[in-house]
Symmetry: C2
Subunit: 120 residues, 2 copies
Amino acid sequence: MAQSKEIDVLVEEIIARVADRWTMVVLEALEERGTMRFTELSHEIPEISQKMLTKTVRQMERDGLVKRKVYAVIPPKVEYTLTDLGRGLSEAFCGVWIWAEKNHARIHEARKKFDAKGER
Amino acid sequence: MAQSKEIDVLVEEIIARVADRWTMVVLEALEERGTMRFTELSHEIPEISQKMLTKTVRQMERDGLVKRKVYAVIPPKVEYTLTDLGRGLSEAFCGVWIWAEKNHARIHEARKKFDAKGER
DNA sequence: CTGGATCCTTTTCGATACTG
DNA sequence: CAGTATCGAAAAGGATCCAG
């Protein structure tokens, strides 16, 4: 049963959005540590800029992957938690993480070989 | 058993590279149809430009995900095939595709809700 | 047929400064 | 604390032309 082409395009768009560099890392962090505040996230992922973190969590919220809970206190407090949808994605992506952990050495090796060839 | 931080960064780099928009689509195409020529790929994925396709398959070759076989004929003939590494990734990523197929409707729904809120 | 090279536009991203 | 706004650098991407 062939999927329609339109569905394919929709699915591809989801993959592209969701398989984003930072989305994956934030998803992992939230999966491992549960509910987290904005600053906790940025400490957990030092490589991300504040701007990208804001953008990423907003996008994830929009896509229904995380729940954003704002406390009306001063100073502000905002907590991020994975939704069921987000946890499902995290689980689905688990296989890719495992694959990457197992094979990153092979990839780096392949790159070295490839680059060595080109230098001749 | 906590993984070292350096490994994490290596793995994240792999994820980022491999979870690229076009890499995923090319991977899928090659997994489904086996060996393919350059033009076949570009026909199978009409949305990709020639430049991006070239770049993507080069990168995948460098990372050891595809094998590139050049036939010394005129006109030129180049075939692309997944390596074991590539097939492994495709398999690992399979879970994410299934998740996306199952849940794309929920995501689009979540987006609609989110956008509706913002318009007030 | 399979690209490489070039030019140009668009998008992404980081750094910085500022606010409730 | 948790952002928004803005600027400029850098990267991605498309279009076109050319070559082996």
